[in-house]
Symmetry: C2
Subunit: 258 residues, 2 copies
DNA sequence: CGACTCGTTGAGTGATATCAAACCCGGTGG
DNA sequence: CCACCGGGTTTGATATCACTCAACGAGTCG
């Protein structure tokens, strides 16, 4: 993949949030970066790490953000997919408080941190787009607090499945209501604060009631209305109206076609 | 309180994160705002609200950020105190996904949203300080996911008490290891995903073991090392090294004294 | 003196965890 | 081609932490 092709993915993503002008795009294309790839359980960034010199944009693949507790339990606090920044949450912080680990084989563009900071601070359009990105991330964290804090197992799992469905769809890596979920049930449990055993029973019960269908790791949401009701899922917190790449692409194509 | 005094609180806060120049300060002092105050259980912003025209800086008092689930349970996702922005999390989003409610009598400076956006985007120093603020907020959300997802009742409560201790101290509204916690046990429960009854038993057990002392709503952490161990508390996620107002004030005063 | 909110305590219940075993399936080596 | 291996999934039995329901006490406000 050519260098400009990779950063143009980033342009497409940001442009979906805020309309960029040509100077903005040039500045983005001038960012120093290297392409990296990681295999499944490897760390991309470690908890406590100081002064990472890069910030990673996901070109393809999935990664999780996590933390271990004193007793060795793991909590996954976020899942990042194609088109997300992996450590936007640390862009302006000196030390990373959470680890980031590859969930699948993942390709990232590791962008020089200082250059990305400067771009964000000095170009209002880019800055605004980056802000939206970071705040949407934060909005998802907050929803996860609610999910894990106040919903029962069925709702938690259903909620997560709904979130994935929308996010993957808008990232362009899933069809409507159907996707490959590359996580073990243990990882699913670590994301929703349950045991793998209980995740298993919960998935089975959702399947038995005809809310979802499973084939290996492929998930199909049979009836969106019912599963989103069970999961108490309201997409507002994803702020998809603030344009996602997929939607914007369609819109941009329409514009071009005129 | 005079108008310039209020915004100078904001300057002090931001200056603690990033050194501001005089043009930055002038721009901040020129922000259009109105002083507002709210009483205890009133809403400052409502879930789902569209296009709020202001962003609130807390001059004095406490507020919570929360969401209700379908079955009517409440989860508090954040607590904001003196020196915090209440809805920084929504500054660049079209719709608020979470409600904000006064926890005590609270005084806020409601700053024109567009003006604050412009300030953030056009002045790199201010922008950087705002970014740090927003990312620290987000880091706390993530820690809360961990807290609620993977720790037992004792740890959750202990962790929250530790967090409050440090944050209040650095906000300048508490002494070392001792503070007034203006929350009912029910609200505490809604913050850590427990029942008020269970919070009560947990507090009692922490007291019985000599980890904390309570007098009404006053809390004293008797032995920081032990309680932080019980709460699995590591302050890294608060990023206090990225300067808090209190610390910076001390430093600034030292400078002035030379 | 009610009426109300908040904190405290007890008894019983239930959702989820824990422990343990079996099973399934893709991969690997003989 | 088969035997074996290992990670992941599934299932059952039991344990436990936290919830629910309920009552009572203390403080506060009108």
């Amino acid at each position: 993949m050519s260098s400009s092709l990779i950063l143009s993915k980033m342009i497409r993503k940001l442009n979906a949030r805020v309309e960029l002008n040509s100077a903005d795009c040039d500045a983005i294309l001038a960012l120093p970066f290297v392409l990296q790839s990681y295999d499944a359980p490897n760390y991309i960034a470690r908890e406590g790490e100081r002064g990472r010199s890069v910030c990673s944009f996901v070109v393809d693949g999935l990664a999780i953000r996590q933390k271990l507790t004193a007793i060795g339990a793991r909590q996954i606090v976020a899942i990042h997919m194609t088109g997300d920044f992996l450590d936007l949450q640390d862009l302006f912080l000196n030390r990373a408080a959470y680890g980031v680990q590859a969930l699948t084989h993942i390709e990232t563009a590791e962008i020089d941190r200082r250059a990305l900071q400067a771009l964000t601070l000095e170009r209002p359009n880019v800055g605004r787009a980056m802000w939206i990105d970071a705040l949407v991330d934060a909005s998802i964290f907050q929803e996860w607090v609610v999910n894990v804090g106040r919903r029962d197992a069925r709702s938690r799992v259903a909620h997560l499945l709904c979130e994935f469905s929308l996010r993957m769809r808008y990232a362009g890596i899933a069809e409507e209501n159907s996707y490959d979920l590359p996580m073990t049930q243990e990882q699913l449990g670590d994301a929703v604060g349950l045991t793998s055993v209980h995740v298993n029973r919960t998935l089975k019960s959702l399947t038995a009631e005809g809310l979802i269908e499973r084939d290996k790791r492929h998930i199909r949401l049979v009836d969106w209305d019912r599963i989103s009701a069970v999961g108490d899922f309201d997409a507002l917190y994803l702020h998809l109206d603030q344009a996602s790449p997929r939607i914007e692409t369609a819109r941009a194509e329409a514009r071009r076609d005129r």
